[in-house]
């Protein structure tokens, strides 16, 4: 990979691989899940080899996603902790939305919107997994009562819809904020990108002499 000299690492290689495994699982789960959710989308099951294959494969992809997303939680949770600064950023969301970021509070590695996506998915993924187990007819069809399974189906459906809408927000934000997509494909951003969107993170890297993604813990020792 040709990576321009002097850029900053936004996401390490392991993080990017982890992210794209999760992304692939999510997209497959969305397509197969929607085919079983609304009959007008049943044709999507053809992508998976028909209805029975869709029913068989969907929960297994879910298992992979849970494991994969757990990896993302481990890597990202600390940088997603909520701070008072996030509230101030949210108050200035109107400026953010029209691309006028002057006067908006400086953002560390993740802004409040990214944190919202992270924590929503952190809540929804386990919810979808456990309600999914209840309705996984093949293995667990007899473990719970029918009323429990009905409730699980409803929660699973509502949770999935919420997750899909949040996923759309996530994908659009990556398209909207130019340079973000490359941060998750090739893994680097330009200093200007970091300055513009994550100035606090940028300053932390600059003052500790780090090229990212984390500031050096012991100051400037690493050069």
């Amino acid at each position: 990979m040709t990576r321009p000299y002097g850029t900053l690492t936004r996401n390490a290689t392991v993080t990017r691989i982890n992210h794209w495994i999760t992304a692939a699982c999510f997209i497959l789960l969305m397509l197969s899940g929607l085919s079983m959710f609304d009959p007008v989308l049943f044709w999507l099951s053809n992508l998976f080899g028909g209805g029975a294959w869709t029913r068989m494969i969907h929960p297994w992809i879910g298992v992979v996603l849970l494991i994969s997303y757990s990896g993302l939680i481990i890597q990202f949770w600390r940088d997603n902790l909520w701070t008072r600064n996030d509230l101030a950023w949210l108050m200035a969301i109107d400026k953010v939305l029209v691309n006028k970021e002057e006067g908006v509070p400086e953002v560390a590695r993740f802004n409040a919107g990214q944190k919202f996506v992270f924590w929503s998915m952190t809540l929804l993924v386990p919810t979808l997994f456990f309600t999914g187990l209840v309705i996984w007819e093949y293995y667990f069809g007899t473990y719970t009562s029918i009323p429990t399974q009905r409730a699980a189906l409803l929660i699973h459906s509502l949770g999935a819809i919420a997750a899909i809408i949040i996923w759309i927000v996530h994908v659009y934000a990556a398209i909207w904020v130019r340079g973000s997509m490359r941060a998750m494909t090739q893994g680097y951003v330009t200093p200007g990108w970091a300055w513009r969107h994550h100035r606090k993170w940028f300053r932390a890297l600059a003052t500790t002499g780090s090229t990212g993604p984390k500031p050096n813990a012991n100051g400037r020792s690493e050069k």
Binding site: P4, Y5, G6, T7, S35, M36, F37, D38, P39, V40, F42, S45, G50, G51, A52, R55, L97, V98, N99, E101, I135, E137, Y138, G141, I146, P147, Q149, R150, A151, L153, L154, S157, L158, I161, I164, I165, I168, V169, V171, Y172, I175, W176, V177, R178, G179, T190, P191, G192, W193, A194, W195, R196, H197, F202, R203, A206, T207, G209, T211, K223
Partner: protein, 315 residues
């Protein structure tokens, strides 16, 4: 079990268009199970096995007359025996033939996500078309009577067909043909309702003042009806539901949230597109790179010197 039928459909699962419905000159049918005349001989169970080529595995004795204990993929009807002590202190042996009730408003069909896996014929019979079944188990959640059973071998859902294959060629269901006491009858829904009415008058005259017909309105009536001596308390007949209807959870899940969810997803995508054409992309400006360079230089980044060339290229 098969859709080689000489009649058209009223409903097809997971299908939004009108099903083929020209061949509709057919009476609504019903099976009438007169619980008050049942002697518990299980001839109906044997006939069901024989006609449908079902042979369940021999199970274990559980200390009751119920055999097998419950419905399963190979047992589409089973006699449920209840020893009921009435208020006078007398024992009543209540024997109810359990199986699919063939609801006029079938919860299984409403819940089913697979097009054509569950159909309702013009005569009211609700049938599973197994080759279209995907084995998801939604019908189990949709059914207010706990009837469908998923096979652990082929992962298809099974239940009583009301012998739709026999009925289609003018025969009565196998259980009806086998019943030695006339406790199971079959005909048009109207004839069966009329016949039940006569029988109920008879029962009332013999002291069963709460005798009545079980044709629950919560599912818009059923195409399998019971004559009960105690129609006011159907629960005593091995848990026959008092007022069965499709669970509101299922109605909500299969009703309102489907269009609302798809509209919500579409709205999210459209909002993104509108934002893109109104506000447009958020692009890094040359000034940003300049500022960043100053900060890096101020912090003594050796790389910062060589960045100029690339930054111009980038901008």
């Amino acid at each position: 079990m098969s859709n080689l039928q000489s009649q058209d459909y009223i409903r097809i699962s997971a299908t939004t268009t009108t099903p083929p419905s020209a061949r509709n000159w057919e009476d609504q049918v019903s099976k009438l199970i007169d619980v008050t005349r049942c002697i518990g001989c299980k001839a109906c169970q044997a006939a069901c096995m024989e006609w449908n080529n079902l042979r369940d595995e021999v199970g274990e004795f559980h200390g009751t007359y119920d055999n097998p204990l419950d419905l399963d993929p190979h047992t589409w009807t089973v006699m449920k025996f209840t020893e009921h002590e009435n208020p006078k202190g007398d024992l009543e042996w209540l024997i109810r033939k359990d199986g699919c009730m063939h609801c006029e408003d079938p919860g299984c069909l409403k819940a089913c996500p697979a097009p054509g896996a569950i159909v309702q014929y013009a005569n009211g019979i609700v049938d599973f078309i197994s080759e279209n079944c995907i084995g998801c188990g939604y019908c189990v959640k949709g059914c207010p009577f706990d009837i469908p059973r998923i096979s652990e071998v082929d992962h298809k859902s099974y239940k009583c067909t009301l012998c739709s294959d026999r009925v289609a060629v003018g025969l009565e269901p196998a259980c009806v043909k086998a019943c030695p006491t006339g406790a199971i009858m079959f005909g048009s829904k109207k004839d069966m309702t009329d016949w039940a009415g006569e029988r109920i008058v008879d029962l009332k005259s013999r002291g069963f003042e709460n005798a009545g017909l079980y044709d629950p309105p919560g599912v818009q009536g059923t195409h399998v009806m019971y004559v009960l001596h105690h129609a006011d308390t159907p629960g005593i007949y091995a848990g026959l539901p008092e007022n069965p209807k499709i669970s509101s959870t299922v109605e909500f899940w299969k009703g309102l949230i489907k269009p609302v969810a798809l509209a919500g997803i579409a709205a999210a995508a459209v909002s993104g597109f509108l934002h893109w054409i109104i506000a447009g992309p958020n692009e890094v400006q040359p000034e940003d790179e300049e500022e960043a360079k100053h900060v890096l230089q101020a912090n003594g980044f050796p790389e910062a010197e060589g960045r100029d060339h690339r930054t111009e290229h980038q901008a």
